[in-house]
Point group: C2
Chain length 123, copies 2
Protein backbone atom coordinates (compact mmCIF):
# COMPACT_ATOMS: atom_id res chain seq x y z
CA UNK A 1 0.00 0.00 0.00
CA UNK A 2 1.42 3.35 -1.05
CA UNK A 3 0.36 6.60 0.58
CA UNK A 4 0.12 9.32 -2.02
CA UNK A 5 1.04 12.77 -0.83
CA UNK A 6 -1.07 15.62 -2.07
CA UNK A 7 -4.16 13.40 -2.16
CA UNK A 8 -6.25 15.97 -0.39
CA UNK A 9 -4.89 19.24 -1.70
CA UNK A 10 -4.70 18.42 -5.38
CA UNK A 11 -4.03 15.87 -8.07
CA UNK A 12 -1.84 13.21 -6.45
CA UNK A 13 0.34 12.33 -9.38
CA UNK A 14 0.90 15.81 -10.67
CA UNK A 15 1.60 17.37 -7.30
CA UNK A 16 4.88 18.79 -6.13
CA UNK A 17 5.72 15.75 -4.03
CA UNK A 18 7.53 13.25 -6.16
CA UNK A 19 7.06 9.91 -4.43
CA UNK A 20 8.77 6.82 -5.91
CA UNK A 21 5.42 5.74 -7.32
CA UNK A 22 4.83 9.10 -8.99
CA UNK A 23 8.27 8.89 -10.57
CA UNK A 24 7.64 5.32 -11.74
CA UNK A 25 4.37 6.42 -13.35
CA UNK A 26 6.02 9.37 -15.05
CA UNK A 27 8.78 7.12 -16.36
CA UNK A 28 6.33 4.66 -17.87
CA UNK A 29 4.19 7.45 -19.28
CA UNK A 30 7.11 8.65 -21.39
CA UNK A 31 6.68 5.77 -23.82
CA UNK A 32 3.40 7.12 -25.18
CA UNK A 33 3.13 7.13 -28.99
CA UNK A 34 0.66 8.22 -31.68
CA UNK A 35 1.42 7.55 -35.33
CA UNK A 36 0.26 9.42 -38.45
CA UNK A 37 -0.01 6.83 -41.25
CA UNK A 38 -0.88 7.63 -44.90
CA UNK A 39 -3.44 5.59 -46.83
CA UNK A 40 -5.36 5.80 -50.08
CA UNK A 41 -8.99 6.67 -49.53
CA UNK A 42 -11.53 5.78 -52.21
CA UNK A 43 -14.17 8.47 -52.76
CA UNK A 44 -17.36 6.85 -54.12
CA UNK A 45 -20.76 8.10 -55.19
CA UNK A 46 -23.61 6.36 -57.06
CA UNK A 47 -23.49 7.06 -60.79
CA UNK A 48 -19.99 8.61 -60.51
CA UNK A 49 -16.47 7.46 -61.27
CA UNK A 50 -14.60 6.79 -58.01
CA UNK A 51 -11.43 8.69 -57.22
CA UNK A 52 -8.54 8.01 -54.90
CA UNK A 53 -7.25 10.66 -52.50
CA UNK A 54 -4.37 10.63 -50.07
CA UNK A 55 -5.47 10.68 -46.46
CA UNK A 56 -3.94 9.74 -43.13
CA UNK A 57 -5.13 7.82 -40.10
CA UNK A 58 -4.01 7.84 -36.48
CA UNK A 59 -3.22 4.99 -34.13
CA UNK A 60 -1.29 4.71 -30.93
CA UNK A 61 -1.20 4.33 -27.18
CA UNK A 62 -1.86 7.37 -25.00
CA UNK A 63 -1.83 7.85 -21.25
CA UNK A 64 -4.92 7.56 -19.14
CA UNK A 65 -5.59 7.46 -15.41
CA UNK A 66 -8.47 7.36 -12.94
CA UNK A 67 -7.93 8.34 -9.30
CA UNK A 68 -10.78 8.33 -6.74
CA UNK A 69 -11.12 11.41 -4.55
CA UNK A 70 -13.22 12.25 -1.55
CA UNK A 71 -16.11 14.51 -2.44
CA UNK A 72 -15.18 18.12 -1.72
CA UNK A 73 -18.04 20.58 -1.74
CA UNK A 74 -16.15 23.18 -3.70
CA UNK A 75 -15.33 21.06 -6.74
CA UNK A 76 -18.05 18.38 -6.61
CA UNK A 77 -15.73 16.08 -8.54
CA UNK A 78 -15.35 12.61 -7.10
CA UNK A 79 -12.55 11.53 -9.40
CA UNK A 80 -9.45 12.96 -10.90
CA UNK A 81 -9.28 11.42 -14.36
CA UNK A 82 -7.76 11.89 -17.76
CA UNK A 83 -7.88 9.95 -21.01
CA UNK A 84 -5.57 10.54 -23.94
CA UNK A 85 -6.85 9.89 -27.45
CA UNK A 86 -4.59 9.43 -30.50
CA UNK A 87 -6.51 11.63 -32.92
CA UNK A 88 -5.91 14.37 -35.54
CA UNK A 89 -4.21 17.52 -34.35
CA UNK A 90 -4.40 19.23 -37.74
CA UNK A 91 -6.93 18.58 -40.51
CA UNK A 92 -7.87 20.11 -43.84
CA UNK A 93 -11.15 20.03 -45.73
CA UNK A 94 -10.69 19.29 -49.43
CA UNK A 95 -13.26 19.32 -52.22
CA UNK A 96 -13.10 16.27 -54.50
CA UNK A 97 -14.86 16.54 -57.87
CA UNK A 98 -16.18 13.25 -59.27
CA UNK A 99 -17.21 12.78 -62.91
CA UNK A 100 -20.76 11.42 -63.03
CA UNK A 101 -21.84 10.16 -66.48
CA UNK A 102 -25.01 8.78 -64.94
CA UNK A 103 -26.21 12.15 -63.66
CA UNK A 104 -27.77 15.21 -65.26
CA UNK A 105 -25.19 17.66 -63.91
CA UNK A 106 -22.30 15.44 -65.03
CA UNK A 107 -20.27 15.90 -61.84
CA UNK A 108 -20.52 15.80 -58.06
CA UNK A 109 -18.43 17.61 -55.47
CA UNK A 110 -17.67 15.93 -52.16
CA UNK A 111 -16.11 17.34 -49.03
CA UNK A 112 -13.40 15.17 -47.53
CA UNK A 113 -11.70 15.79 -44.20
CA UNK A 114 -8.02 15.18 -44.72
CA UNK A 115 -5.90 14.38 -41.68
CA UNK A 116 -2.54 16.15 -41.59
CA UNK A 117 -1.07 15.19 -38.23
CA UNK A 118 -2.02 13.02 -35.25
CA UNK A 119 -1.26 13.51 -31.56
CA UNK A 120 -2.29 12.15 -28.16
CA UNK A 121 -4.89 14.62 -26.92
CA UNK A 122 -7.22 14.84 -23.94
CA UNK A 123 -10.60 13.59 -25.05
Amino acid sequence: VVAIKGDDSGPPILGKDKTPLTLAMMERFKSTWCKTEPFTQLIKEKGCISRKVLNRFCYGQCNSFYIPKTLRRRTKRKVFKSCGFCRPKRTNTIIVTLKCPGRKKGFKQKKVRQVKECQCQER
Copy 2:
Protein backbone atom coordinates in the same frame (compact mmCIF):
# COMPACT_ATOMS: atom_id res chain seq x y z
CA VAL B 1 1.47 5.45 -49.14
CA VAL B 2 -0.27 2.27 -48.05
CA ALA B 3 -3.53 1.18 -49.59
CA ILE B 4 -5.73 -0.37 -46.95
CA LYS B 5 -7.96 -3.17 -48.10
CA GLY B 6 -11.48 -3.19 -46.81
CA ASP B 7 -11.46 0.62 -46.59
CA ASP B 8 -14.80 0.86 -48.31
CA SER B 9 -16.67 -2.13 -46.99
CA GLY B 10 -15.77 -1.86 -43.32
CA PRO B 11 -13.22 -0.99 -40.70
CA PRO B 12 -9.83 -1.16 -42.43
CA ILE B 13 -7.73 -2.44 -39.58
CA LEU B 14 -10.16 -4.99 -38.27
CA GLY B 15 -11.09 -6.44 -41.64
CA LYS B 16 -10.32 -9.92 -42.87
CA ASP B 17 -7.46 -8.74 -45.06
CA LYS B 18 -4.29 -8.75 -43.03
CA THR B 19 -1.98 -6.31 -44.77
CA PRO B 20 1.55 -5.85 -43.40
CA LEU B 21 0.45 -2.56 -41.87
CA THR B 22 -2.53 -4.16 -40.15
CA LEU B 23 -0.25 -6.81 -38.69
CA ALA B 24 2.26 -4.19 -37.56
CA MET B 25 -0.52 -2.27 -35.81
CA MET B 26 -1.84 -5.40 -34.13
CA GLU B 27 1.66 -6.30 -32.96
CA ARG B 28 2.21 -2.87 -31.40
CA PHE B 29 -1.25 -2.87 -29.86
CA LYS B 30 -0.39 -5.97 -27.85
CA SER B 31 1.78 -3.93 -25.46
CA THR B 32 -1.22 -2.13 -23.95
CA TRP B 33 -1.23 -2.01 -20.14
CA CYS B 34 -3.46 -0.75 -17.32
CA LYS B 35 -2.34 -1.02 -13.71
CA THR B 36 -4.38 -1.27 -10.51
CA GLU B 37 -2.37 0.46 -7.77
CA PRO B 38 -3.37 0.61 -4.06
CA PHE B 39 -3.20 3.87 -2.09
CA THR B 40 -4.39 5.23 1.23
CA GLN B 41 -7.28 7.62 0.84
CA LEU B 42 -7.99 10.13 3.59
CA ILE B 43 -11.69 10.64 4.31
CA LYS B 44 -12.26 14.13 5.74
CA GLU B 45 -15.24 16.09 6.97
CA LYS B 46 -15.47 19.36 8.88
CA GLY B 47 -15.81 18.80 12.64
CA CYS B 48 -14.97 15.09 12.28
CA ILE B 49 -11.92 12.93 12.87
CA SER B 50 -10.39 11.89 9.53
CA ARG B 51 -10.06 8.22 8.67
CA LYS B 52 -7.88 6.36 6.21
CA VAL B 53 -9.30 3.78 3.84
CA LEU B 54 -7.67 1.52 1.30
CA ASN B 55 -8.52 2.43 -2.26
CA ARG B 56 -6.97 1.83 -5.68
CA PHE B 57 -6.27 4.00 -8.70
CA CYS B 58 -5.77 3.14 -12.37
CA TYR B 59 -3.11 4.26 -14.78
CA GLY B 60 -1.85 2.93 -18.08
CA GLN B 61 -1.67 3.16 -21.82
CA CYS B 62 -4.56 1.91 -23.92
CA ASN B 63 -5.08 1.68 -27.66
CA SER B 64 -6.79 4.38 -29.65
CA PHE B 65 -7.25 5.06 -33.35
CA TYR B 66 -8.99 7.48 -35.70
CA ILE B 67 -9.59 6.53 -39.35
CA PRO B 68 -11.37 8.88 -41.79
CA LYS B 69 -14.13 7.33 -43.91
CA THR B 70 -16.16 8.56 -46.82
CA LEU B 71 -19.66 9.44 -45.77
CA ARG B 72 -21.98 6.52 -46.45
CA ARG B 73 -25.67 7.29 -46.31
CA ARG B 74 -26.50 4.17 -44.37
CA THR B 75 -24.24 4.78 -41.40
CA LYS B 76 -23.75 8.58 -41.49
CA ARG B 77 -20.47 8.11 -39.68
CA LYS B 78 -17.52 9.93 -41.21
CA VAL B 79 -14.90 8.32 -39.01
CA PHE B 80 -14.13 4.94 -37.61
CA LYS B 81 -12.66 5.65 -34.18
CA SER B 82 -12.00 4.09 -30.83
CA CYS B 83 -10.38 5.27 -27.61
CA GLY B 84 -9.37 3.02 -24.77
CA PHE B 85 -9.46 4.35 -21.21
CA CYS B 86 -7.62 2.76 -18.26
CA ARG B 87 -10.45 2.94 -15.73
CA PRO B 88 -12.17 0.78 -13.08
CA LYS B 89 -13.72 -2.46 -14.27
CA ARG B 90 -15.05 -3.38 -10.83
CA THR B 91 -15.95 -1.02 -7.98
CA ASN B 92 -17.60 -1.23 -4.59
CA THR B 93 -19.42 1.41 -2.57
CA ILE B 94 -18.40 1.40 1.08
CA ILE B 95 -19.84 3.39 3.98
CA VAL B 96 -17.22 5.05 6.17
CA THR B 97 -18.34 6.26 9.61
CA LEU B 98 -16.45 9.25 10.99
CA LYS B 99 -16.55 10.31 14.65
CA CYS B 100 -17.58 13.97 14.88
CA PRO B 101 -17.05 15.52 18.34
CA GLY B 102 -17.94 18.92 16.91
CA ARG B 103 -21.40 17.86 15.76
CA LYS B 104 -24.74 17.27 17.44
CA LYS B 105 -25.18 13.76 16.07
CA GLY B 106 -21.63 12.77 17.01
CA PHE B 107 -20.92 10.92 13.78
CA LYS B 108 -21.15 11.23 10.02
CA GLN B 109 -21.45 8.51 7.37
CA LYS B 110 -19.79 8.95 4.02
CA LYS B 111 -20.10 6.91 0.85
CA VAL B 112 -16.80 6.06 -0.80
CA ARG B 113 -16.42 4.40 -4.17
CA GLN B 114 -13.71 1.81 -3.82
CA VAL B 115 -11.92 0.65 -6.96
CA LYS B 116 -11.33 -3.10 -7.12
CA GLU B 117 -9.82 -3.65 -10.55
CA CYS B 118 -8.77 -1.53 -13.55
CA GLN B 119 -8.86 -2.37 -17.26
CA CYS B 120 -8.52 -0.66 -20.65
CA GLN B 121 -12.10 -0.04 -21.73
CA GLU B 122 -13.80 1.74 -24.61
CA ARG B 123 -14.79 5.17 -23.42
